[in-house]
Subunit: 156 residues, 2 copies
Amino acid sequence: MTDNIMREPSETLRSVSSQRLEAQWVVGFVDGEGCFYVGINLQPEMKVGYQVLPEFTVVQHERDIQLLYALKQFFGCGVVRSNHAERMAYRVRGTRHLRERILPFFEMHPLKSKKRQDFLKFRRILLLMERGEHLTTEGVERIRAIASKMNTGRER
Amino acid sequence: MTDNIMREPSETLRSVSSQRLEAQWVVGFVDGEGCFYVGINLQPEMKVGYQVLPEFTVVQHERDIQLLYALKQFFGCGVVRSNHAERMAYRVRGTRHLRERILPFFEMHPLKSKKRQDFLKFRRILLLMERGEHLTTEGVERIRAIASKMNTGRER
């Protein structure tokens, strides 16, 4: 057996186990399945009484869990967790990862669906948080006003 | 005003009104939102008693109807129709369009999700139909057996 023949199977395996995604595929898939969400939760331990929790998620039936891992690899951040029933989610919550990985990608590769409007509000909120506005009562109200206009026009 | 300045607004309008889609965006969007389906309906007027109806659909909230028209333009076939409630569907039913437009595209640009398995069964059924197998009782049973294994592992 030559070295070349020895090498073939492992390369085949590698291409099967880690799908390489193209930017436009990611945009199309997120236009369909992605969600930009900002939770505002009661949090008595914080001075303003609320915690602002932005997250980017892509939910998928567990049969396609490999795509969620491919997204995790593509963005270089986030986690894959079970969602509910047979559904899994790829999720990015850290504001630094959201600001440094998720925002620049969708700024450079705009979503084509109305989900882009949600993304732009999500971005505004992350920029307000970068300035510390989520730590003031006025800032939280401002964020709440923006968040309340996100994810409308979907199935409830 | 120079010609250049005159030309600008109309070009801006054009790019807004007819979104040009890239192949990988279409693959990603269909991985999320597309459906390959083969209906087998009682049809007493036909000799074998059944009509085989393959269709490719992409369903979307009406707020993103422009994406469905962009898909119609991209594939150069199909119709955009209301689905139910506030949902609209892009749909291709004609077997010639399915064979000549839809199959070659997804053969050249493979789906990355398990929906590819549905596509491959859909393709097998269309090739059986091309040979007229849907017009014989044995052929319909063969098609029914393949179709019964499609679209499993989704929400019911």
